[in-house]
Symmetry: C5
C-alpha cells in the first residue's frame, strides 16, 4: 500500500453530517461519464448520457456510471431509481468491503475490481457497485476506464443469452467480468513468484529476494483481504430469496461462487508457496554462512598451528639446538607440508572442502 493514500476516508469525512454525498476516493480529477442502454430481445438502444424518460419505454435499462466525481448526477440517478441513501453513500465511499445488501426494491452489491501492477508490486483497487432492480441495473465504476465493454458488446450484437434474460443475468455478466479479472491478478502474482524462485536458485539468498518475498506477501494478503468477504457476499446472492433472481439463473451465480472459491484456493496456495520460499531463503542464507565459516575454519585450522611452529623457530634463544642441525629447516618444512596435506585430507573426508 503506498503511503500517500493510506489515510482512511472515514477520517477525511469526519465532521461532515452523515448523509452528505461526497466522493472519498483519490481519482478526483476525472469527469464522470454516463452510458445508458436499453434493450429487449429484439431491440437495442444506447446513449452516451442519462435521461429519466428511459423508463417509459419497455425493456431492461442498464445505466453505467464511470468516475464518481459528479455527485449531483449520481444523486439524481439515485432519486430517479429510488435508491436508498445509505446505498448511494456506500457507492461514493470507496473503501467498502465487498457486500450484498437487500433493499425492498433491489439488490445492492459492492465488490472491488483488482489490477496487479508488477512494476510497483501492488494491487490497484477500484470499487464497483451494482444495483439490481426489477427492470434496471445500475453499475458504478470508480475509474473512468470501462471494465464492461465486453458485456455491452455482447448485448449490442445479441450474442449469448444476455438479451433474452433479465437484470439478474446482466448483473451476473458484470460480476463475472470483474471476477475474471481476479484470475489475471492471480497469474501476475504467480509469475512474480516463479521469478523470485528462479532468482533464489540462481543468485542465492540475496537481500533483494527477501524484499521480493516481503512485498509479494503484502500483495497476496491484500488480495486475500479484498476477495475473502466477497465469498460471503456471493454465496448470499446465490441463496437470496429475492424475487429478482430467477431460479433458472441461480446456476450462473453458483458459478461466480465457485470462481471466488477457486481464487481463494489459489491465494492460499500462493501463501503456502511464499512461506516455503521464505523458509528456503533462510536455509539458503544459513547454508551460505555455513560455507563461509567452513572456509574460515579450514584456513585457520591449517595455518594457525603452522604459523605457531614457524614462530617457535623464529625465537632468538641462544641455545636452540635444532636450528643448527643441517637438515632442521627441511625437516620442519616437510613436517609442515605433511600436516597441511593431512588436514586437507581430513577436511575433504568431512566434506568441508
Amino acid at each position: 500500500m503506498s503511503r500517500k493514500f493510506h489515510q482512511h476516508t472515514k477520517i477525511r469525512k469526519k465532521g461532515l453530517p452523515p448523509g452528505t454525498l461526497i466522493y472519498t476516493g483519490y481519482r478526483t480529477d476525472k469527469p464522470s461519464s454516463v452510458f445508458s442502454v436499453q434493450f429487449t430481445e429484439n431491440k437495442y438502444a444506447e446513449q452516451p448520457y442519462y435521461r429519466n424518460e428511459l423508463r417509459k419505454n419497455p425493456g431492461l435499462i442498464w445505466v453505467d456510471i464511470r468516475s464518481l466525481t459528479e455527485t449531483a448526477l449520481i444523486s439524481t440517478i439515485g432519486d430517479d431509481f429510488r435508491i436508498h441513501p445509505l446505498a448511494l453513500e456506500d457507492v461514493l465511499d470507496t473503501q467498502q468491503r465487498p457486500k450484498l445488501e437487500e433493499f425492498d426494491n433491489g439488490l445492492f452489491i459492492i465488490l472491488p475490481n483488482l489490477t496487479f501492477k508488477p512494476e510497483t508490486v501492488e494491487i490497484v483497487c477500484e470499487q464497483i457497485a451494482i444495483f439490481i432492480g426489477s427492470d434496471f441495473v445500475l453499475s458504478f465504476q470508480e475509474d473512468p476506464d470501462d471494465n464492461f465493454a465486453h458485456v455491452r458488446k455482447r448485448a449490442q450484437e445479441g450474442l449469448g443469452r444476455i438479451r433474452k434474460k433479465g437484470p439478474d443475468y446482466l448483473a451476473y455478466a458484470l460480476l463475472d467480468t470483474v471476477v475474471d479479472g481476479y484470475y489475471v491478478v492471480l497469474d501476475g502474482i504467480q509469475t512474480q513468484l516463479f521469478d523470485l524462485e528462479e532468482t533464489l536458485h540462481r543468485n542465492g539468498a540475496e537481500p533483494e529476494v527477501k524484499a521480493g518475498i516481503f512485498n509479494l506477501k503484502h500483495v497476496v494478503n491484500h488480495f486475500r483481504q479484498k476477495v475473502l468477504p466477497l465469498r460471503d457476499a456471493a454465496t448470499r446472492l446465490y441463496r437470496t430469496e429475492s424475487e429478482l433472481v430467477d431460479t433458472s439463473n441461480r446456476l450462473y451465480l453458483r458459478d461466480v461462487v465457485d470462481h471466488v472459491a477457486q481464487i481463494l484456493d489459489g491465494i492460499d496456495s500462493q501463501r503456502d508457496m511464499l512461506s516455503s520460499l521464505e523458509s528456503l531463503y533462510h536455509a539458503e542464507a544459513s547454508n551460505r554462512l555455513n560455507n563461509v565459516m567452513r572456509l574460515l575454519t579450514v584456513i585457520s585450522t591449517i595455518f594457525i598451528p603452522l604459523s605457531f611452529v614457524a614462530g617457535v623457530y623464529g625465537m632468538n634463544f641462544d641455545n636452540m639446538p635444532e636450528l643448527h642441525t643441517r637438515f632442521g629447516y627441511f625437516i620442519v618444512l616437510s613436517g609442515m607440508l605433511a600436516a597441511m596435506v593431512g588436514m586437507l585430507i581430513y577436511f575433504r573426508e568431512k566434506r568441508w572442502i
Copy 2:
C-alpha cells in the same frame, strides 16, 4: 500496558459485598459532570445538570454523564430511569468487555473509546456505557472530556435526521462516533508501521526497530482484543428483536457492524505486516552477520597463509638456502602479491567483496 494500572479491578474490589456501587478506574481525581438534553423535532432544551422532572415533558431525553467518580449521582439517575443494578455496577467497573445486554426496559451497551498515543506507543481506553430506553438515552463516559460534542451540536442545530428519529438513532449516532475513533487509532498505528519500515530500510536491523515491532505488536493485540468482542455485540444489536430498535434504523446499525468488521480487517492486515516486518528484520540481521563473517573470512583467508610464509622465512635455522639467494626476498614478495591478487579475484567472483 503500563505496569501501574495492571492490577485488575476485581482484585481491588475484593471483600466488598456485591452490589456496592464503586468506581474502579484510575481517573479518580476528576469531578463528574452531567449534561441533560431534551428534544423533539421542533424543540431543543439543554441543561448542564440533571433534574428528575425532565420526564414530565414530552420529547427524547439524553442524559450524558462524564467522569464516574460521583457514585451517588449515578445511583440517583439509575433509580430514576429504573436501570438494573447489575448494569449500574457494570457502568462503574471499567474493565468490562464490550457487550450488549437486553433488559425489560431497555438495551445496555458497553464499548471502549480508544485513543492511540504515539509517544508512549499505547492505546488509552475509556469505557463508554449507553442505555437505550423507550424515551431516553443515558450515556456514561469515563473521562471528563466530551466525545459526543459533535452529536450534541447536530441535535442542537437540527442537522441531519437526529431530531426526527428516536432513541435508537441517537444511540446509533453515539456508537458511530466511538467507532469512527477506531479509524484514527488504525491510522496512528499505520503511521508507526510505515515509520518502522522506513527505519528498517534506512538503518538496517538496529535493536530499536525490534523494540518498535515488539511494542507495536502489543498495541495491535490490545486493540484487537478491545474490538473483537464488539463485533459480536454490534451484530446482536443489529439483529435484536427489541421493539426499541425500529426496522427503518436497522440499516444504520448494519453500518456500525460493517465498520467494526472493516476495523478488524485492518487490524488483521497490520498483524500480517508486523509479522512480515519481523521476518524482514531477522533476514536483515542475519544478512548483516553474513557480511561481517565474509569480511572476516576474506581478511583471514588472505593474510593468515601469507603470515605463515613470512613466519617460515623468519625462522632462525642456520641452513636455509633461500635466504641467501639474491632475489629470494623479491621472489617471495611477488609470490605473496600474486596469491593476494588471486584470492581477491576469487572472492570477487564469488561475489563476497
Copy 3:
C-alpha cells in the same frame, strides 16, 4: 507440572470395579471436615458437623465438605441427598475437567480453584464440586482450607441478597468466589511477565530469561486448559432450562460467563506477550552474537594484515634493501598507524564501533 503427581488417577484406579468411591488426589493426609448451614431470610444456624435431620426444618441447607479423604461420610451425605453415584465418583476423582451435569434432582458443577505459586512458577489446582438441589447446596472442596469463608460470613451477617434468594444464588456466590480467584492468578502471572520483561531489558538475553519464558508458558497453557472448558460449562449453566435456576438470577450467571470470558481474554493476551517476549529474546541474543562477531572482525581486520607486514620485515633474507634504509622502520610504523586509523574510520562509518 511437578513430576511426582503426573500419573493419571485413572491408572492408579485401574483394576477397581467402577462405582467404588475412592479419593484419587494426593492430599491424603488431611482429615475431612463438614460444615452445615441452614438459613432463611430471618434465621441462620450453623454447625461444624453434619446431621441428616437438618432437612426436617424449613430453609436452605448448605453442606460444605472440606478435604475428601473420608469417603464413608461423603457416601452418607450422597445417599441422604440422593446424589447420583456417578456424580459422587466425579467428586472424588480430582482430575475432572470443568463440567456441568444436569440430573433429575439437581445440577452438578465441577470447576477448579486455582492458586499461582510464584516461587515454583506453578498453578496449584484444587477441585471444587457443587451440587444444587431444590432446597440445598452441597459444596466439596478438595483442600481443607476454606475458600468460602466470605460467602458464609455474608450469609451469617445477612449482608446483600444471599439470604433472600434460593440455592441458585448461593451457588452463584460460590462460583463467583472461585472465579474471582482466577483474577489473582492472572495478576500473579502478569507480575512475573513484567519481571521477565524487565530482566530481559536490563541483563539482555541471559539463559534464565529463556527458562522463565519456558516456565511461564507452561503455566499459562495449564491455566488456559483449566479455564477453557469452564466457559462451556458456565454458558450451559446460564442457559439451562432447569427450574432450579430462577429467571431473575440468570443475569448473575451471565456475570460469571462474562468473567470467564474476560479471564480467557487475559490469558490470550499473556500468550501473545509471551510469544513476543520470546521473539524479543531471540532478537536480543542474535544481536549480542552480532556484536561479538563485529568486535572479532574489527580486531582481526585491523591486526592480521599489520601482523603480516611485521612478519615480512621479520624475514631473514640477506638481501632486503628496505631493512637497511635509515627511516625504513619509521616509515613502516607510520604506514601501519595510518592503516589502523583508516580502518577505524571505516568501521566507525559503518557503525560497527
Copy 4:
C-alpha cells in the same frame, strides 16, 4: 507446478462468449475415444463408439468418453442425454474444483484423478466428470488412458454387485476407483518422505534435503488442495435427497466419504512430518555450524596465545635476559606444551572435542 501450464484457463478463454464449448486443458493432441456399454443383470453389450439408439433398449447405459478434444461429439452426447449446458462447460474447463451439482435430471460430479510422479516430484491431475441419470451414467476422462478398465471388466464378467444395481452403484464404483488412486499418491509421497529422512540422517543438512522438503511441501499442499473440496462434495452426495441414490447404496457412498477423510488425515500427518523434518534439518544445520565454530575456537584458543609467546621471544631487543639462559628455550617449549595439554583437557571436559 511446472511453469509452462500455470496460466489459468479462464484467461485463455477470455473474450469468448460464455456457453462456447471449448476444451481448456493442454492434452490437445490426443483424439477422443468413446466407449458405450449397456447392461442389465443378464445382458451385457459394449461398443467402441457412441450411438443415440442405445436408449431404445432397456438396461443401464454407461458412456465413457476419454480425451476431451472432440467438442462436437461431447456436445452431441450432451444434447442426447439432456445435460445442462453449464455442466458441459464444466466438463471441458479442466481446472474445476471437485464439486457436486444437482440438476433436475441427474447428479453431476467433478473430481480429479491424481498421479504422483516421483522423478519430477509433482502431482499430475486429470479431471474426471461423472453424470448420473435415471438410467445412464456418463463419465468423462480428460486423459486417453482408461482409469475405469477394472470397473468395465467387473461389469463384463458380472462380478460383484455391479450388474444388479443401478446407476448410483456404478457411479460409486467409478468414484471408488478414483479415490483408491489417492492412496497410491499418498504412498508415493510417504516413500519420498522416508527417503528424505534417511538422507538427512546419513548426509546431514545438505542443501538437497532442503530442496526436497520444499518440493514435497508443494506436492502435499497441492494434493490437499485437490482433495479438500472433495470431502464436502462427497458428503453432499452421501446426504443427497435425490431419488437417484437408493437408500441401500448410501452406505457405499459413506465409504467414499470415509476414504476421503482418511486420505486427508494422511495428508495432515505428512504435513506434520514435513514440518518436523524441516525443523530437524535446521537443528542439524545449526549443530553443524556449532561444530565448525567449536573447532575454530579450539584451534585458535590453543595456538594464538602460544604464537604470541613465540613472537615475544622472536623480538630483537638487545637486552632480553631469558634468551641467554641455558635452558630458556626448553622451559618455554615445555610451558607451551603444558598449556596446550591443559587446554586440550579443558576442552575435552567441556565436551568440545
Copy 5:
C-alpha cells in the same frame, strides 16, 4: 511409523472385487480364537468356541473374536447375527478411522486399542470393532492378546452392574477398557517428555535431544490422529436415538466422551510442551554458540594485537632505536601485560568471561 508397514491396505487390496472378506493387517501368522459368553443376572456360561445355537437360550450373548486371520469363521458369525457386509469388511480392513455406524439391527463401533512402546518410541495400534445388537455384543480384537479379560471377569463374578444391564452397558464396559488404555499411553509419553527435559537441562542442546523431540512429536501427532475422530464417534454414540441405548445408561457413555475429551486435552498440552521444549532447545543451542564465539573473540581480541606488537619488534630493520634501550624489552612486556589485564577487566565487566 516404521517403514515396513507403511503401505496402505487399500493398495494391497487393489484389484480384488469389493465385498471380498480379506484381513489386511500384518498380524497374519496368528490363529483366531473365539470366546462365547452368555449371561443373565443369575446365570453365566462361557465357552472357548462359537456355536450358533447360543441364541436359542435367553440372555445376553457376547462373542469375542481375537485375531482376524480366519475370515471364514468371521463370515459365519457375521451371517448368524446378520451383520451388514460393509461392517464385516470394515472389521477386517484394519486401517479404519474410529467411527460409529448405525444399522437397522445394531450399532457398529470401530476404535483403536493403543499401546506405547518406549524402546522404539512408537504407538502400536490394534483395531477393535464392536457390534451392539438387541441381545448380543460382538467384539473383534485384531491382536490375539485379550484386552477384555477384566470385563469378562467382572461378568463372571457378577461384580458391579454388568450382569444387571443390557448390551449397551457391556459395550460401554468394553469401550471404557479401551479408552482407559489411552491414559497409559499418555503417561508413557509424559515420562519420555520429562526425560527429554531433564536430558536437555543436564547435557545441553545435544543432537539426541533434538531427535527425541522429533520422534515424540511423531508419536503425539499419531496419537492425536487416532483419538481425534473418536471424540466425534463417542459423542454420536452418546446422543444416538437408537433404542439399543437405554436412557439410564447414557450417563456412562457421557463418561466415555468426557474421558476422550480429557485425553485430547492431555495431548494438546503435550504438543504445547513439545513445542516449548523445541524452542528451549534452540535457545540453548544458540546460547552455546554464543559462548563459543565469545571465547574465540576474547582470545583473539587479547592476543592478536599483542602478537602484532611482538611482530613489530621482531622486524629486522637496522635502525630501530627501541631495541637498543636498556629496559625496552621490559617496558614492552609490561605494556603487553597491562593491555591484557585491561582487556580482561573490560570483558569481565561486559560479563563475557
